[in-house]
C-alpha cells in the first residue's frame, strides 16, 4: 500500500550515497538561483531530466509520478509568459524544471533505508540537546507506518457500519470516531512501550561510557 518511490537499478546515481545526493540537490537549489544564462540552465535541465528518465522507470511512469507538480508548474509558467518578459519567464521555467527533475531523480535512486539513515543522522543533534532520546526518531516513524494499515481497516469498518445502518458516508460522522478510536489506541501503545521499557534512557550516558560502546 505504501511502497517507496525508489526504483531498483544500477545506474550511476544509484551508486552515489544518499547524503551526497541530498547535499548535491540542496547545493543545486541554491546555485541555480544565481544562474541567469539560458544555455547553462538548459544544460542543467537536460542533465537532470536525463538522470531521472534513465533511473529505471519507463518514461510514462516517470512522468506520471511528477505529473501533478508538472501541471501546476506549467500553469504558473503560462501565467509568467503574460506577466514577465520572455527572457525572465524562460529562465524561471528552466530553473525550476531542472530542480524538479533532479529531486525526482534523487528520490527514484535512493533506497528507503538509506533515506531513513539520513533522517536518523539529522535527528542526532536533537538527541545531544536532550530533546529526543536515542532511537526516538526510529520509534516514531516505525509507529506511524506500522499503524497505517490498522487505521485504514478501522476506516473501512466505520464505512461498513454506516452502510449497515443505511447512512450515507459523510466526513463529519466518520472523522470523529476514527480520530477518537485511533488516539485511544495511541495511549494504549504508549503505556505498552513504557511498561516494557522499550524506549531509550532519558539522560544520556556519561560521555566516557558512550565512547567505549
Amino acid at each position: 500500500m505504501l511502497t517507496s518511490l525508489y526504483v531498483e537499478g544500477r545506474g550511476p546515481l544509484h551508486r552515489v550515497t544518499a547524503g551526497t545526493k541530498l547535499a548535491g540537490l540542496a547545493i543545486a537549489g541554491v546555485v541555480l538561483f544565481f544562474v541567469t544564462q539560458l544555455w547553462l540552465l538548459a544544460v542543467f535541465l537536460f542533465l537532470a531530466a536525463l538522470a531521472y528518465l534513465t533511473a529505471g522507470l519507463s518514461i510514462r511512469e516517470a512522468l506520471r509520478r511528477i505529473a501533478p507538480t508538472l501541471w501546476s508548474l506549467l500553469f504558473l509558467l503560462a501565467v509568467n509568459l503574460f506577466l514577465l518578459p520572455m527572457q525572465d519567464a524562460a529562465v524561471l521555467g528552466l530553473r525550476i524544471l531542472a530542480l524538479v527533475f533532479a529531486a525526482a531523480a534523487v528520490t527514484a535512486t535512493t533506497p528507503l533505508a538509506e533515506m531513513m539513515a539520513v533522517v536518523d543522522r539529522v535527528a542526532r543533534p536533537l538527541e545531544k540537546l536532550n530533546l529526543l532520546r536515542p532511537g526516538d526518531a526510529g520509534l516514531t516513524f516505525g509507529l506511524c507506518l506500522r499503524f497505517v494499515p490498522d487505521i485504514l481497516s478501522r476506516y473501512e469498518a466505520l464505512r461498513e457500519a454506516h452502510r449497515a445502518r443505511g447512512l450515507k458516508v459523510r466526513v463529519l460522522t466518520l472523522l470523529g470516531p476514527l480520530i477518537i478510536l485511533t488516539l485511544k489506541q495511541a495511549d494504549e501503545v504508549a503505556s505498552a512501550i513504557d511498561a516494557r521499557g522499550l524506549r531509550g534512557a532519558s539522560k544520556p550516558f556519561p560521555s566516557s561510557e558512550r565512547h567505549s560502546s
Binding site: I66, V79, V100, A108, T110, L131
Partner: protein, 187 residues
C-alpha cells in the same frame, strides 16, 4: 516529550496518511467530494495541541521527503517539496503549530458548545489558512517567479473551500474534545 506524546503524534501522522489513501468523501450538504487530507493540518493542531500537532507534521513531511507516496493521490518524494507548491507542505508544520497554539488558549473545556466551536474555527482559519498561505504564496513566487500579486489573486479561488474545511475541522475537533479530550493536557 513523553512516550505518550510521541505515540499520539505518530498515530496522528498515520491518520493523515490514511485520509490521503481513501477516496474523497462528500460533506453531506454540498455534493462536491473533498479530499480529507487537506483538513489534516487544521485537525492536528486543534485536536492534539501545538507541539504534538507540529511533530505529527514533521513526521509526515519527513515521510514525503524520504520518498513515500503519502500525499493524497499517491504523490511524494523530493520533487513535490522542490516544486512550486513545496512551501505549502513545509508550511503545514508551522500551520499545525499555530492552530494548536491558538486552540489551546481559545478553547476552554467547560465553555459552551458554541464558544468552543468558535474557538476551534478561529484557530483553524488563522493557522490553517492565514499562516499556511503566508508561507506557501511567497514560496510560489520564489520558486516559479510568478509575481506575488498574481499568486495572491489566484489563491483567492481556494479560500471559500478552505473556510468550509475549517468549519468541518472545528466540528470534528469539538466532537473529539467532548469524547476524548487531549487538548487540555499540553505536551
Amino acid at each position: 516529550m513523553t512516550t505518550r506524546d510521541l505515540a499520539l503524534s505518530a498515530l496522528f501522522a498515520a491518520i493523515i496518511i490514511v485520509l490521503g489513501l481513501v477516496p474523497p468523501v462528500t460533506l453531506g450538504f454540498i455534493p462536491v467530494p473533498i479530499t480529507m487530507q487537506s483538513m489534516g493540518v487544521m485537525l492536528a493542531g486543534t485536536i492534539i495541541g501545538a507541539k504534538r500537532g507540529a511533530l505529527a507534521y514533521i513526521i509526515f513531511v519527513a515521510l514525503v521527503a524520504v520518498g513515500l507516496p503519502v500525499l493524497s493521490g499517491g504523490r511524494g518524494g523530493l520533487a513535490v517539496l522542490m516544486g512550486p507548491t513545496g512551501g505549502y507542505i513545509f508550511g503545514w508544520i508551522v500551520a499545525a503549530f499555530v492552530s494548536g497554539f491558538l486552540a489551546e488558549r481559545l478553547v476552554r473545556e467547560g465553555a459552551s458548545e458554541w464558544r468552543q466551536l468558535g474557538g476551534f474555527f478561529l484557530s483553524s482559519v488563522l493557522g490553517g489558512i492565514v499562516v499556511l498561505y503566508a508561507i506557501g504564496m511567497p514560496w510560489v513566487t520564489l520558486a516559479a517567479g510568478t509575481p506575488f500579486s498574481a499568486v495572491a489573486w489566484g489563491s483567492l479561488a481556494f479560500i471559500p473551500g478552505d473556510l468550509l474545511k475549517a468549519a468541518v475541522a472545528a466540528i470534528a475537533a469539538r466532537s473529539v474534545l467532548a469524547g476524548y479530550p487531549l487538548l487540555p493536557q499540553r505536551a
